[in-house]
């Protein structure tokens, strides 16, 4: 391997090793057999890098960025939920396997294109199935049991939607881009409308407004990208605002979330507890943080899934949290750049959709953590604890790398 790839491969591994050593010396301590987790992570990352180097040598080094985020995630799972750390290491390994599968699919993107409408139907079917048979873990989130494993179906739906949007929009982009009133071309809008209403209805039924916001933002951005009509962005923003108002007025748990967001200290031990504790953790971090294991982010309920960014901000400080933000910025801009290089419209849309989805998802959760918007219980891609999120995001990253790594022409 050339030296640049070596550095990029070693950096996340080094981070996990340092995190392990730091935790050993902190009051938080490490889970039993932490060294196994470190080795497992190292093997996964090296294997992933080798396979990407082999299958997509032209691809930008986005796996290194994702691996760095996964390293942060593994470190903070060891820190905040040590009993779950072995599972997280396994999920990272599974995620990298999924990435290789996604990479293969990305190389054969023209075959994937045939599945456009199947993906659309699957998205709605999965939603419907979750609404009917899903089981609630941690309140609003819904999961489905598949072969003894709880699967967070909203993560799957995101992937299906990416495939559908890319195929559909690349086919119909010309129609949208033509000047003139859109209503005359309602036939082309129709499938989109059906999909949108189905998604909206089901998600309202699932009460998962965070995912709804992410999917709405993804669809809107993709649509305006395809049509080159900024009007879609405005319409999308209007739609999201209208949904928010509707949610606020009709759903009590949405109202609670907004009220807690605006006035967390009104009920610091009750409804506002999570937000208040997160705010304290942020302030405690300072510029360089308390050091891994020396903070008190474990007082935040669901820290390892919903508030892992705040935990990073407390223990690694402004410096560490800015690093996480920078990593996502690199992931998104790198993905968009790779997309822009593809001559094929479908590949371009698919790659862009993956990059935008990751960016939007990270933005929604980080903004919520920083109290710029109300909190939504969505995961921070590659960092938060959770198998479904890790596997799906790595698979999507693989798709992006497969497309980007294809020889041109």
């Amino acid at each position: 391997m050339p030296w640049r790839s070596t550095v990029l491969t070693v950096a996340p591994i080094l981070f996990v090793v340092l995190a392990w050593l730091a935790l050993e010396r902190s009051p938080a301590g490490t889970p039993p057999h932490a060294e196994r987790l470190v080795v497992e992570f190292a093997v996964s990352v090296v294997a992933g890098q080798l396979l990407v180097g082999l299958l997509a040598p032209e691809a930008p080094p986005l796996l290194a960025v994702a691996a760095m985020l996964a390293a942060v995630g593994l470190a903070f799972t060891m820190r905040l939920a040590p009993e779950a750390a072995p599972a997280q290491a396994n999920w990272i390994a599974a995620g990298i396997a999924a990435m290789v599968a996604g990479l293969a699919a990305g190389r054969q993107a023209h075959l994937l294109r045939r599945w456009t409408y199947t993906a659309g139907v699957l998205a709605i079917a999965t939603l419907g199935a979750t609404a009917l048979f899903g089981r609630s873990i941690n309140g609003a989130r819904l999961w489905i049991e598949v072969a003894g494993q709880s699967v967070q179906t909203t993560e799957l739906i995101k992937a299906f939607l990416v495939v559908f949007l890319a195929g559909y929009l690349s086919r119909e982009a010309g129609v949208f881009a033509q000047p003139g009133p859109l209503l005359a071309r309602w036939r082309f809008l129709f499938p989109l409308l059906v999909l949108w209403l189905g998604t909206l209805g089901s998600l309202v039924a699932l009460r998962d407004l965070g995912t709804l916001a992410i999917l709405a933002a993804l669809a809107t951005v993709m649509l305006s990208l395809a049509s080159r009509r900024p009007g879609f962005l405005a319409a999308g923003a209007l739609l999201v605002a209208a949904t928010a108002v509707l949610g606020y007025t009709t759903m009590s748990h949405v109202r609670t979330r907004v009220d807690v967001w605006l006035h967390p200290f009104a009920d610091p031990l009750g409804a506002g507890y999570q937000t208040v504790q997160a705010t304290f953790a942020l302030a405690n971090g300072g510029v360089t943080g308390t050091g891994l294991g020396w903070g008190m982010a474990d007082t935040i309920p669901a820290a390892v899934t919903d508030y892992v960014f705040v935990a990073v901000a407390e223990e690694l400080g402004l410096a560490g949290a800015s690093g996480v933000i920078l990593a996502f910025a690199l992931l998104v801009t790198g993905g968009l750049q790779a997309a822009a290089r593809r001559p094929d419209a479908y590949e371009r849309f698919l790659a862009a959709a993956v990059a935008i989805l990751m960016g939007v998802q990270a933005a929604v959760i980080i903004a919520g953590n920083l109290r710029l918007v109300p909190t939504t219980g969505v995961t921070l891609p590659f960092v938060s604890y959770g198998g479904s999120s890790l596997v799906v995001n790595f698979a999507l990253l693989g798709l992006l790398l497969g497309i980007a790594g294809k020889p041109r022409g």
Binding site: R228, T279, L282, G285, T288, P343, A363, L370
Partner: protein, 465 residues
């Protein structure tokens, strides 16, 4: 389909949007992590309780290094005496926090107050942070004398260095046993006598005649009177149907210089003086002394009030305000500052509690620079000093064991429940004042007989080694 320039532009725009969002997030991080230090001392922050239980927490010392609070190796916090309960305070995950434990928590846990060497060491080595020792301006001898003199009477006492603003003593009673705080806290919180309230900084009382110092300061500053101006008080002063008495003067109603009206605290003279003076000069002077806004201090302070915000500014109210009743509500710290400004040639010192931060025996941070604001002409302050010296010289205040000439003003403030709060504010020595005091004994009766001896004891302890 071929490449489309517009689409590339749109993709680039999306990239810029991502970078813009990242910058907004970093901005929000900077806001929370660099500018919201206040949250670290929020009473609901569990890090506070953890900070108290850390064995490395620094000690709290008096100005001479006597240990007032320290942590045992098992993390238990032990306190020297109940006499410093309110000043030293407490820190509890469940019952909140107050006093120096809260105000200087950042220094005590080693987050602030170290020099660059200590900062570098903790940055590189991390590990359990070693806290710094915090030295207060409190003088344990003066504090104990004040607590003993006040005894088991609800009230408060404050002693200040008139030049530096150092708080030499600050007691409030009822207090509590700091070493049993965790067990007693529920009862203390429910106690109607409000033992957790630091009466010295946050207790609000009618000041009674001690406020005549402020009225006299305004009248002297405006040139309305001099100490030698002859005033006439034959029977009583009637204003808007209210009658204010000419009583108190030993030789009976009649004609005498203004300084005698001050010494014998003749309400009618001050009522009329107030009405002649008008609201604005009186309010201006009171605000200059610090009324109507929280006093800048390391511990939280209540604002002293001249009139309630919604009250119409009538002449009758002005008259009663001028002699210290009306709607006046003051903190003992505020009244100590009034005395200190008069003692300090008209310069109002800003009170301070921090004497320094120490690592081991080495001072890493000094006290805040002394600050003072001119509120009176040196001439007016001099006239007030001589008038306040008359109060003591004419036997209106019994300063108990004090063995030097002192000056002051007594107050017997009607509470509206048929009792009176006993007040004394003053300073010593008369010629070169060093220490100012304010004492209130709730429902104690006559200020000159009840509060003044406490003040005398405190001044004696502060000035005679």
């Amino acid at each position: 389909m071929k490449w489309d320039r517009d689409e590339l532009a749109a993709l680039r725009l999306a990239g810029y949007a991502a970078i813009a969002a990242a910058l907004v997030f970093v901005g929000a991080l900077v806001y929370w992590q660099a500018f919201r230090d206040d949250l670290n001392s929020h009473p609901a922050n569990p890090r506070l309780a953890a900070a108290l239980a850390a064995p490395g927490r620094g000690r709290i010392l008096d100005r001479d290094g006597h240990v007032l609070a320290q942590s045992l190796p098992d993390g238990r916090r032990v306190y020297r005496t109940a006499a410093t309960a309110h000043v030293v305070g407490y820190l509890s995950g469940r019952y909140g926090a107050q006093g120096a434990e809260l105000a200087f928590n950042d220094e005590l846990i080693g987050r602030r107050g170290g020099d660059w060497l200590a900062a570098l060491r903790s940055e590189v080595l991390r590990g359990a942070p070693e806290g710094f020792d915090v030295r207060l301006t409190i003088d344990l001898d003066v504090q104990m004398a004040a607590a003993l003199a006040l005894g088991n009477r609800p009230g408060a006492a404050v002693a200040l260095d008139v030049r530096t603003g150092d708080v030499l003593a600050m007691v409030s009673w009822p207090n509590w046993d700091p070493n049993a705080f965790a067990d007693e806290a529920p009862a203390l919180l429910d106690d109607p006598k409000a033992p957790l309230l630091n009466r010295a900084t946050q207790g609000l009382y009618p000041p009674g005649s001690t406020f005549k110092v402020v009225t006299a300061a305004a009248a002297l500053s405006e040139g309305l009177v001099t100490p030698e101006t002859i005033v006439v008080c034959d029977e009583a002063y009637v204003i808007s149907g209210y009658t204010v008495s000419c009583g108190n003067v030993p030789q009976g109603p009649g004609t005498y210089p203004f300084r005698d009206a001050f010494a014998y605290s003749v309400n009618a003279v001050f009522a009329r003086l107030g009405v002649e003076l008008g609201w604005q000069p009186l309010l201006r002077t009171a605000r200059a002394f610090g009324f109507e806004s929280p006093i800048p201090f390391e511990l939280p302070t209540a604002s002293s009030q001249v009139v309630a915000g919604h009250s119409p500014l009538s002449d009758a109210l002005l008259a009663s305000t001028a002699f210290g009743q009306g709607e006046l509500l003051v903190t003992p710290l505020q009244m100590a500052l009034v005395a200190a400004a008069v003692a300090n040639d008209g310069l109002l010192p800003q009170p301070r509690l921090l004497a320094g931060v120490y690592e081991g025996g080495r001072r890493t941070e000094g006290p805040p620079a002394p600050r003072a604001r001119r509120v009176l002409d040196a001439r007016v302050a001099g006239e007030l000093r001589s008038m306040m010296a008359d109060v003591v010289a004419k036997g209106q205040a019994n300063l108990g064991p004090l063995k030097m000439p002192a000056a002051g003003k007594t107050g017997t403030a009607e509470t509206g429940r048929g009792t009176a709060h006993a007040w004394f504010i003053g300073f010593a020595p008369v010629d070169a004042p060093k220490v100012a005091v304010a004492v209130i004994v709730e429902d104690g009766g006559r200020g000159g007989e009840v509060a003044a001896p406490v003040a005398g004891t405190i001044l004696q302890a502060a000035l005679v080694p």
